[in-house]
C-alpha cells in the first residue's frame, strides 16, 4: 500500500526528532491527565484531545526532508496542504521540502482524528504551531551548541539555522540528529513567529500538495487500495431500514464466473450506531463478478417496522407536529402575549427533504482479518470508529486494529459512519482472512446512506405598527441523528438545535423555539452543515417574507433583525453546545454577521437595477463559529427556467491560514447549496428509497453552476482571535439566498425544497 509503505520508508530514512529511527510508534511519556479538571472546550474536549509533542508528528531526514504526519482525513478541504503550510512556516522550513504523510488511525497516540464539524484547522492551528516551534527551537539549540555561540545569536531561516555574526549556516538535515537528542522545550518557553513574518500562512495560491498525484491518477483513494491476494465484495442490504434477511438462495449467484462465496451478514443489534445493516455479501475475484453475482441472488426480506415509511405521508406527520406546541427549547419574554398584541402576524412553513451525501467515491474499504489482528485500508472521516467497532466485533485489542486512512473521494459526513469498513472486515473474516475489498455501488450508496434529516420548519412573527418584530415563534420538527445512538429518540439533540434554531441572534424581545416530536424511520446522519440547512433556509426565507409583507428592503430588514453590533453569550440563547467551543472565546458577534451581510451586499451591487425576470436575494447565517452571507442573482425565464448567473459569498471565519482552500470550500459550498436547493431529494415509499442513481438523485452539473462565484473573505488576519470553521458554513445561506432571489425575480415564494419544476409555467 502506497501510503503505508511510504510512512515506513520515510521512518527508516529519517532521524526522528527525539527518538530512535525506525518507526513512528513513539514511546513518548505523556503528561498524566489533570485531576479535578474544569470543563474542556474545543479540541481539548474531543475524545483523545489534542497532542503537540513534535516527536509524534515530525521527522527530519539527513537530507533535510521534513516529514509531517497529518492526523486529519483529507477529503478535499486541502488539510494536508494547509497543515504543511502551518508547520513549514513556524519551523522556518521550505514548504517544498516538507512531505505530508497520512497518519494511521490511533487516537491514543495522536489525539483526536475525527475529521468533521469544520474543526481541523480551528482546533489544530495552535498545536501545529507549538509542534513546529518546539522543533525549530531544538534545531536552534543544536546549532548554537555546535558553534559555541549564544542561542540568541542564531535563528532559523530557509530550512537551516544561521549565525548572523559569522555567516555560518547549517541545513536542518545536518542538525536533525543532534536536535533529536535534545529535550522538547516546555510549552511556556516556545517562541512564535509574528503575523508579519508569515511566509506561507495566509498566503494565496499555494499549490496543493497532492496536485501532481491527483492530476496523473496516482493519488490513492480508499477505493484504490490494493492488497496482495484480495477478493472483492458487494452486499445486498435490506431495502428497508430495520429489515433483515428472511431467506436467500445463493445457487445462481455461485454459478456466476468468479464468484467465490456468498455469506449472510447479521442485522445490527440496537443501537445501530455505525454498524452494517446486515444482508447477504457476495465475494468474488473482481468487483464486476461480485455485482453480477449479487444480481443473481434470490433473497426474501423481512422489512421490519419501517416497511410503510412513505415520505409524502411523513411530510404530513411533520406538518401536523409543527402545527401544535412542542417541547420549548428557548423561551425569551412572552411570545404569546406579544403575538396577541401584535399589529400584524405573519407565518410560513418550510419543508426540506432527506438528502444523501453522495461523495463521488462511494463508500469502500479493504480489510484483512486474521488471527488476533485486523488491518483496514479505507477512506474514513473517523478512523477511531473503525478501530472501536472491529476491536469489539472480533474481540481483539484496539492496538491490533490498524487503519490506513487513504484519501477520501469526498466525505460530506457519509464517511463519518464507517459501516463499509466493518462490512469489509466481516467479508475477510468469512474468507478465512483473505483480504477483501468491499465496494458500495452508487445504488447502494444512495439507498443505504445515513440520510440528512427531513424537516418541517414553522415560523410565526408578530410585528408592531412600525413593522418592528416583537415576537418570534419557531417550531422545528425533524428526526434526529441521536436516534441511531438511542433508538426512539424523537427530539432534536442539543447540537442540532444549536445549529441555527436556538442560536438565532435577532434583537427580538419575545422569542420562543419549540421542538415537536419526530420519529426517525431511516438512518439519519450528518450531511455537510447538518441541521443548519433546514434552520437557515426557513429563518432566512422568513426574514425576506417579513420584509416583503412590509414593503421593506430584505437586506435592511435582515440587518434590523440582527440589531446593533453586540456580543451574545451562548447561554443567553439557550445554546448548550456552541460547536463544542468555549462561550467566552466564541460569543455570537452580531457585528461580524452584519459585516458579512454588508460585504456580500456591496460586492454584489445590492440595489442595482436589474432587467425583467432577474432578482437578487440575500441570506446570512452563523455556523461552526463562522459567519457567512450570500447574495444570489437569478433569472427566471418566461417558462420558469431558472438560471443563476452569479453568486457572491462573504465569509468571516476569523484568521485564514490557506485562503485558496477557504475560497475553494466556499465555491464548493455554493454549488452544493444550489444542488440541494434545486434538485436534491431522497424520497421513500414502502420504506424503500425511490432513487437509485444520478438520474433519480440529481446533482448540480457544470451547466447548472453559476458562471460567476465571487468569494469575499473578511477579517482574514485576525490571528489574535480564535479561528472558525471553513468546510461547512458556506452551505446554509445558499438555498435561502436563492429562494429570496427567485421571489425578487418572479414573485414566486419557494417554501419547499427542492425547487425542481416549481417555477414551471410561471409567466
Amino acid at each position: 500500500m502506497t501510503n503505508t509503505t511510504e510512512v515506513a520508508n520515510v521512518a527508516r530514512r529519517s532521524v526522528l526528532l527525539g527518538l530512535a529511527a525506525g518507526t513512528f510508534v513513539l514511546s513518548v511519556r505523556l503528561s498524566p491527565p489533570a485531576v479535578a479538571q474544569e470543563k474542556k472546550y474545543g479540541g481539548d474536549a474531543m475524545p483523545g484531545g489534542l497532542k503537540d509533542d513534535p516527536r509524534l508528528f515530525l521527522s527530519i531526514a539527513d537530507d533535510g526532508t521534513v516529514s509531517l504526519l497529518c492526523i486529519r482525513a483529507e477529503m478535499g478541504q486541502g488539510i494536508r496542504t494547509s497543515f504543511g503550510m502551518v508547520v513549514a512556516d513556524e519551523l522556518e522550513a521550505e514548504l517544498g521540502r516538507v512531505k505530508v504523510l497520512q497518519a494511521p488511525g490511533d487516537q491514543a497516540r495522536f489525539g483526536n482524528q475525527d475529521t468533521d464539524g469544520s474543526r481541523s484547522m480551528r482546533h489544530h492551528f495552535e498545536p501545529l504551531r507549538r509542534i513546529a516551534a518546539a522543533a525549530r527551537q531544538m534545531l536552534e539549540q543544536e546549532a548554537a551548541a555546535r558553534w559555541g555561540v549564544p542561542l540568541t545569536e542564531v535563528k532559523a531561516e530557509n530550512h537551516g539555522i544561521v549565525h548572523a555574526g559569522s555567516g555560518r549556516r547549517l541545513d536542518f538535515g545536518a542538525l536533525a540528529k543532534g536536535a533529536a537528542a535534545r529535550p522538547v522545550p516546555a510549552r511556556d518557553t516556545l517562541v512564535f513567529k509574528g503575523v508579519s513574518q508569515f511566509r506561507y500562512i495566509g498566503k494565496d495560491n499555494v499549490p496543493l500538495i497532492d496536485n501532481l498525484d491527483i492530476t496523473t491518477g496516482k493519488a490513492v483513494f480508499g477505493i484504490d487500495a490494493r492488497v496482495d491476494g484480495m477478493a472483492y465484495a458487494v452486499v445486498a442490504r435490506p431495502p428497508v431500514f430495520g429489515g433483515k434477511v428472511k431467506s436467500f438462495d445463493a445457487a445462481k449467484a455461485m454459478k456466476v464466473p468468479g464468484v467465490l462465496k456468498v455469506v449472510a451478514i447479521e442485522p445490527p443489534t440496537p443501537p445501530v450506531v455505525f454498524q452494517p445493516l446486515g444482508g447477504v455479501a457476495v465475494i468474488a475475484e473482481n468487483t464486476f463478478a461480485a455485482i453480477k453475482g449479487r444480481s443473481q441472488l434470490d433473497t426474501q426480506w423481512d422489512d421490519g417496522p419501517n416497511a410503510s415509511y412513505d415520505s409524502v405521508q411523513y411530510r404530513k406527520t411533520l406538518e401536523a407536529a409543527a402545527a401544535k406546541p412542542g417541547k420549548v427549547v428557548r423561551n425569551d419574554g412572552d411570545v404569546d402575549a406579544a403575538l396577541a398584541g401584535a399589529a400584524k402576524r405573519v407565518s410560513a412553513e418550510y419543508y426540506l427533504p432527506h438528502l444523501a451525501q453522495a461523495p463521488m467515491e462511494p463508500p469502500s474499504a479493504t480489510a484483512r482479518v486474521t488471527n488476533g489482528a485486523c488491518e483496514v485500508w479505507c477512506s474514513v472521516q473517523n478512523s477511531e470508529a473503525v478501530r472501536t467497532d472491529l476491536s469489539k466485533r472480533f474481540n481483539v485489542p484496539i492496538d491490533k486494529v490498524t487503519v490506513h486512512n487513504l484519501l477520501l473521494g469526498g466525505g460530506f459526513g457519509r464517511k463519518s459512519k464507517p459501516d463499509f469498513a466493518s462490512e469489509a472486515a466481516i467479508c475477510s473474516h468469512a474468507m478465512g482472512g483473505r483480504p477483501v475489498k468491499l465496494t458500495f455501488t452508487r445504488e447502494d450508496d444512495l439507498q443505504h446512506s445515513f440520510f440528512h434529516t427531513v424537516s418541517v420548519e414553522r415560523l410565526e412573527a408578530g410585528l408592531d405598527g412600525d413593522g418592528k418584530a416583537v415576537a418570534w415563534l419557531h417550531r422545528t420538527a425533524a428526526p434526529t441523528i441521536a436516534a441511531i445512538f438511542a433508538p426512539g429518540a424523537n427530539h432534536e439533540a442539543p447540537f442540532e438545535l444549536a445549529m441555527g434554531a436556538v442560536d438565532t441572534p435577532f434583537a427580538i424581545p419575545n422569542l420562543r423555539v419549540e421542538n415537536p416530536e419526530a420519529a426517525a424511520h431511516t438512518r439519519v446522519g450528518w450531511f455537510r452543515s447538518v441541521s443548519n440547512i433546514p434552520h437557515a433556509f426557513a429563518i432566512q426565507s422568513f426574514v425576506a417574507e417579513l420584509a416583503a409583507s412590509l414593503g421593506r428592503d430584505p437586506k435592511d430588514y435582515l440587518l434590523e433583525l440582527i440589531g446593533p453590533p453586540r456580543l451574545i453569550d451562548a447561554a443567553a440563547m439557550s445554546d448548550a453546545w456552541l460547536y463544542g467551543e468555549d462561550p467566552k472565546r466564541y460569543p455570537f458577534d452580531t457585528g461580524r454577521l452584519r459585516q458579512v451581510v454588508e460585504k456580500a451586499a456591496s460586492e454584489a451591487g445590492w440595489g442595482r437595477k436589474l432587467s425583467q425576470g432577474r432578482g437578487l436575494g440575500i441570506a446570512a447565517h452563523r455556523s461552526f463559529v463562522s459567519y457567512t452571507a450570500v447574495v444570489a442573482e437569478v433569472a427566471v425565464g418566461p417558462k420558469g427556467e431558472l438560471t443563476i448567473p452569479r453568486v457572491d459569498i462573504a465569509f468571516d471565519c476569523g484568521a485564514v491560514v490557506n485562503p485558496d482552500r477557504v475560497r475553494s470550500q466556499l465555491e464548493g459550498a455554493v454549488v452544493q447549496g444550489i444542488s440541494l436547493a434545486t434538485l436534491g431529494e431522497i424520497s421513500f415509499k414502502n420504506g424503500r428509497v425511490e432513487q437509485a442513481n444520478f438520474d433519480g438523485y440529481e446533482l448540480t452539473r457544470i451547466d447548472g453552476a453559476p458562471p460567476e462565484i465571487r468569494t469575499h473573505l473578511v477579517n482574514t488576519t485576525a490571528f489574535d482571535k480564535p479561528l472558525g470553521g471553513a468546510g461547512e458554513p458556506g452551505v446554509p445561506p445558499v438555498a435561502p439566498a436563492l429562494a429570496n432571489a427567485i421571489f425578487a425575480a418572479s414573485g414566486k415564494r419557494i417554501r419547499s425544497l427542492p425547487i425542481r419544476d416549481q417555477l414551471a409555467g410561471k409567466a
Binding site: G76, G78, N205, P207, L208, N211, L212, D213, I214, T215, T216, G217, K218, A219, V220, F221, I223, D224, R226, Y232, P257, G258, N286, T287, F288, A289, I291, K292, A358, P359, M360, E361, P362, L407, L408, G409, G410, F412, T441, R442, D660, S664, Q665, E667, G668, V671, Q672, S675, N693, F694, D695, L699, T700, R701, I702, D703, P706, P707, E708, I709
Partner: protein, 150 residues
C-alpha cells in the same frame, strides 16, 4: 479472448467478456486512476479514451474492444505535463480530486476536437462529469487556460 492495448501496452483478457473496461482496469490491470462513480455513464468519473474518443469505461465491455487502443489518465502524458494537467494544477482545480481524472480525460477530448471552445461548448462537453465538491468554475477556467496551449 480480447486483445487490446492500454497506454500502448498489449493486454489480453479471456475472462467474462461482459466485464466492463472500468473493472478490468481497476481490479485486473491494477490501474486505479480511472474511477468508479456510478456504473451507468451518469457521472463521467471513469472516462478514458478508446481509439481517441472519450468514453465511459463502465459502459464498455472488454469483449467489445478487441484490437482497440485505450488511453487512461496514467497514459495521458509521461510526466503529468499535458497542458490540461498543468492548467489543472496551476488553478488548484481539485478539491478531493476523485472525479478529476475523469474530468481531465473529458477535457482533453474536448480540446482535441475543439481547440478553442466557447463557454457554451465547455458546458456542453463537461456536463456529463459530476463533481460533488463543486469545482466547476475552476474546471471551466482550467480548460480555457489549457485551450491556449493544447
Amino acid at each position: 479472448m480480447s486483445k487490446f492495448t492500454v497506454n500502448g501496452k498489449a493486454q489480453s483478457f479471456d475472462g467474462d467478456p461482459e466485464t466492463p473496461l472500468l473493472w478490468y482496469l481497476r481490479d485486473i490491470a491494477g490501474m486505479t486512476g480511472t474511477k468508479f462513480g456510478c456504473g451507468r455513464a451518469l457521472c463521467g468519473a471513469c472516462t478514458v479514451h478508446v481509439d481517441g474518443t472519450a468514453v465511459r469505461s463502465c459502459q464498455v465491455q472488454v469483449g467489445d474492444i478487441d484490437g482497440q487502443a485505450v488511453i487512461t489518465i496514467e497514459g495521458l502524458s509521461a510526466d503529468g505535463m499535458h497542458p490540461v494537467q498543468r492548467a489543472w494544477r496551476e488553478l488548484n482545480v481539485a478539491q478531493c480530486g476523485y472525479c478529476q481524472t475523469g474530468q481531465i480525460m473529458q477535457a482533453v477530448s474536448l480540446l482535441k476536437d475543439t481547440p478553442k471552445p466557447t463557454d457554451q461548448q465547455i458546458l456542453d462537453a463537461m456536463s456529463g462529469n459530476i463533481c460533488r465538491c463543486g469545482t466547476y468554475p475552476r474546471i471551466r477556467d482550467a480548460i480555457k487556460r489549457a485551450s491556449g496551449r493544447a
